[in-house]
Symmetry: C2
Subunit: 450 residues, 2 copies
C-alpha cells in the first residue's frame, strides 16, 4: 500500500488502535490482539524494510473473520463452546503475513457463518458502520465494519451464500468473492464446504485485489483447491458485454434502489460496456436450492454433531437451521445436487455471450431490531441476488454504487469461474478506479513463496 | 472397420444373425431386433456407400446395453415394470448410427446397472462367453458377451463401479471406460449419475477407440458433460512411467492370477515402460466408499421411488441395496463426498509423476451358482480394483492379459481424467496393437456431425 511508503508500520498500528478506541464498536471483534503485540511485529517489519526487504503488503492492517485460523488466537466461529486455538494460520492468512500484513484480530460473524445479517452472534449484533441502528450484514459482519470504519485496510471474510458481498454492500465497501478453490479453505471452519470461499473486503478494488493476489494458489491441503486454467482470461474486453436484469427481476428492490441500479447500468454503458437485459429468474430460482433444499445438510456434516451434543451452546436460529438439516435424507441431497447440475448447465447457456452479469448485491437494509424480531424471513430475502453465485460456480465482485433509501447501495459484477480478473476490470468501470494488474500472473508468481 | 470394405453391410448382418442362432445365448438380449429390420437398414447403407457416402463406422454391428435409449425399442434397465419406449436414441447411440453403425438390439444387464456379476436380472443370468458355467461379469453382461462371441463388433456398456471393465476381463475382450462427461449420458438410465460413464466393448483397441471417437463431445443436454482441456495429452511418452501394485495389494488374486499380472508388468517393461511399485491401498480404500458409504444414495435418487412403489417388481438383491440407500441421512452423504474429495487429492499426489497405473481388472472368476448362492459378497470383491476409478475421476482401459485359473485374465490401464489417449497407447503396448489415431483430434472433428 502506498501509505506504507510514507509512514512507518508502527505508526499505522498506533493509528489503528486509536481508531478502534474512537469508533467504540467492541462488537466488531471477538479477539482483538493486544496493541503491544501488533506494535512489536510492526517494528520488526520496519526494521526489515529499512534493511531492504521488499514486501508487497508491508504494513497492511488485516482483520480476520473468526472462522479462519490465525495461529495462537482462538477460532470461535462465534460459538464460545466450539473454540479451539490453532497452532498454525490458515494459508490465506499466512500468505498475507508473509507479504508483510499485520493481523489486528479476529472479527465477529453470524455464528458458523450461517446468516447474512450480522445479528446471529453471542458476541452481539454488529452495528452498521454508517448507520448504527441498521444491520452490518453478514455473516462476515465484523470484518466488513472494521474496513468500513477505516480500522483495517483489508479484512478476510468467507462467503457461501453472500457473506462476503452483502456486508460489503451494506457498509459501502468492496467485497471480492473469488472463484471457488482459488484461495485454499484450509484452516477455515466449513459452512457448506462445497460452496465456501475466502473473501476480501477493502475500501478500493486495488487494495482488495493486491491482497487476493497473494492469497491465491494451491496449498496442497485443500482437496477442492483449483488453479487457473491455461486459457484464463487476463482482462475484460474494452467494450464488455454485460447482462442485466429486467424490471421483473428487480421487484424486491425499493423504487429508489431500482433507480440506483439503473444509474449503475448507465454508468457501465457510459464507460463502454454494452448491456443487454436478460431473464435472470432461473438463477434466482437456483438460489433457493441453498436453503430450501437439502444442500444445507453440508452444514450438519460440518458442525451438526457439535450442536446436537449441546444445542444450548449455539445461537437458537443457527441451531434450528443446522439441526433441521440433520433430518434430511441422503437421496434428497443427491436429487438436489442433480437439480443444481441442471441449473449450472442452464447458467452456462444463459451467460454465454456475456462477459459478466450485473445485479444488485442485496435487496434492502433492515434495522437490527427488525431482524431480531424475525430472524429468518429478512435474512432469506437478503440472499436473493447472492445465493446462486457459489452454487453455480461463479465469481463475483461487490462494489458501492451510490445511495438509496438513505444509505449505501451496492451492485455485484458476476462472472464465470476463473474470470475473476474480467470481473475486477468491469467493477473498476463502476468505481472509476484504474483496473489493477491482472490477477492470474500475480497469483502465479506469488504462489511460489505462499 | 476394414471388413466393411470387403463384404457388404447386408452380408455382415446376415452373418451376425447366423452367429446369434449358432451361439444359442438368448439371455444375452432383452430386445433383439428382427433380422429383416436390421437387414433393410444395412441395404440402405450399402446403397449410400455405393453412392459415395463416407461413413467411418459403415456396417459396424452394435449391441446396446438396455439402460441406454435406442429410439423405438423399449429401455428396460432389466426391470420389465420400469420399461419405457423412447422416441429418440441416446446421443452415444445416435452418433454411432450417424457414422454408419447398425444396432442389433438391447442387451441384458444387472438390473439398474447394480451389480458386477451379470446374474441379477429377471431375463436370466448371462453365461460367460468362454466358460458358460461361469458368470459373464456385469453389469454390462449381455454387451460384453455379444462382442466376445463375435456377434457384435462393438457394444455399449455403462460403468459406475466397473460395469464396463469387469465383463471385459471375464470375457477376454477390450473395455474402454472414458473420462466422466466425455460421452453424454443423456438417454441413459442413471445408476449413480455423478459416477456413470458410457463405455465401449470391442475385440480390439482400434475398434473400440474408433467407436469412442464418434461418441465423444458435448450434446448440450448432459449437465455433467465435459470437453477436452486445452492442454490434453495426445499420446503416452515413448517410455511411459507406469505405477504398479506390490504383492500386498494383490492378495485377493490367486497365485496364478498374480503370476499373470506379473507377466503383464514384464510385457509392459519389455515394450519400453518404466514401472514402479507403489502402495495403492488408499485407492482400494476409497473404493469402499461407493457401497459401504452413503454415495449409493444416488441410486435411490435415480430409481428408488419406483422400487419403493413396488419392491416385488425388482430383483430382490438390487431392491435390497437401493431401498437401504433410501434410509441414509443427507449429512452422511455430505460427509462421504468430503471424504471422497480427500481421496481425490490423495490420488492426485499418489499418481503424480506416473503416466498410468496398471492393476488387475478384477479379483476372480466365480461360477454362476456361487453368485446365486451368495449374491453380495463375491460381487463386492469383484469391484476391488475398479470401484475407485470413477469415484476419483480417472479413465481406464481394460485389456486381456493372458490366462489364469483356466480362463482369461485381464488388466486395466488407469490414467488421470482426460488422459484417455495415453491409456489407450499404454494398453496397446500390452495387446501388441499399434496405438490408434489420437482420440481428442478425432473426437473434436467428428463432434461436428455428432
Amino acid at each position: 500500500m502506498t501509505q506504507a511508503l510514507t509512514i512507518s508500520c508502527a505508526e499505522r498500528v498506533l493509528d489503528a488502535y486509536r481508531r478502534i478506541a474512537e469508533a467504540d464498536r467492541p462488537e466488531v471483534w471477538i479477539t482483538l490482539r493486544p496493541e503491544t503485540d501488533v506494535l512489536a511485529e510492526a517494528r520488526e517489519l520496519d526494521r526489515r524494510i529499512a534493511a531492504g526487504a521488499e514486501l508487497p503488503l508491508a504494513g497492511t492492517l488485516v482483520a480476520v473473520k473468526d472462522n479462519i485460523d490465525v495461529a495462537d488466537l482462538p477460532t470461535t466461529a462465534a460459538c464460545p463452546g466450539f473454540a479451539y486455538t490453532p497452532a498454525t494460520s490458515a494459508p490465506a492468512v499466512q500468505r498475507l503475513v508473509d507479504a508483510g500484513a499485520l493481523v489486528l484480530g479476529k472479527t465477529n460473524l453470524d455464528q458458523f457463518a450461517t446468516g447474512l445479517v450480522g445479528v446471529r452472534s453471542p458476541y452481539g449484533p454488529v452495528r452498521n458502520a454508517l448507520r448504527p441502528e441498521k444491520i452490518s450484514g453478514g455473516s462476515s459482519s465484523g470484518s466488513a465494519v472494521a474496513v468500513a470504519l477505516g480500522i483495517a485496510d483489508i479484512a478476510l471474510g468467507t462467503d457461501t451464500a453472500g457473506s462476503g458481498r452483502v456486508p460489503a454492500a451494506l457498509n459501502d465497501i468492496v467485497g471480492l468473492k473469488p472463484t471457488l478453490g482459488l484461495v485454499p479453505t484450509t484452516g477455515v471452519v466449513p459452512a457448506a464446504r462445497s460452496y465456501d470461499a475466502v473473501t476480501v473486503f477493502a475500501r478500493t478494488l486495488t487494495e482488495a485485489q493486491r491482497a487476493l493476489a497473494v492469497m491465491i494458489g494451491p496449498d496442497g491441503g485443500d482437496p477442492l483447491g483449483r488453479t487457473w486454467p491455461d486459457d484464463v482470461r487476463l482482462s475484460a474486453p474494452e467494450h464488455p458485454r454485460v447482462a442485466v436484469p429486467g424490471d421483473d427481476d428487480l421487484t424486491p428492490l425499493s423504487p429508489e434502489a431500482r433507480a440506483a441500479f439503473r444509474t449503475a447500468v448507465k454508468r457501465l454503458e457510459a464507460a463502454g460496456a454494452e448491456t443487454t437485459v436478460i431473464d435472470v429468474s432461473p438463477l434466482l430460482e437456483a438460489a433457493r436450492l441453498l436453503y430450501d433444499g437439502a444442500l444445507v445438510a453440508e452444514r450438519y456434516a460440518a458442525v451438526g454433531e457439535f450442536i446436537a451434543g449441546d444445542p444450548s451452546a449455539a445461537d437458537p436460529t443457527v441451531a434450528g437451521i443446522i439441526l433441521a438439516s440433520g433430518e434430511l435424507p441422503a437421496h434428497a441431497l443427491a436429487a438436489d445436487q442433480e437439480r443444481l447440475d441442471g441449473y449450472k448447465a442452464l447458467a452456462r447457456r444463459l451467460l454465454a455471450g456475456y462477459d459478466a452479469l450485473l445485479l444488485p448485491t442485496t435487496t434492502e437494509h433492515p434495522d437490527i431490531a427488525a431482524v431480531q424480531a424475525d430472524p429468518v424471513t429478512v435474512n432469506s430475502r437478503l440472499g436473493t441476488y447472492t445465493n446462486f453465485v457459489n452454487l453455480l460456480d461463479l465469481a463475483a465482485v461487490a462494489v458501492p454504487a451510490g445511495e438509496a433509501d438513505g444509505g449505501p447501495f451496492g451492485v455485484s459484477v458476476i462472472t464465470r469461474a476463473f474470470e475473476d480478473q474480467p470481473a475486477l476490470d468491469i467493477a473498476a468501470l463502476l468505481t472509476g478506479e484504474q483496473a489493477p494488474t491482472p490477477l492470474p500472473g500475480t497469483g502465479v508468481d506469488l504462489a511460489v513463496f505462499g
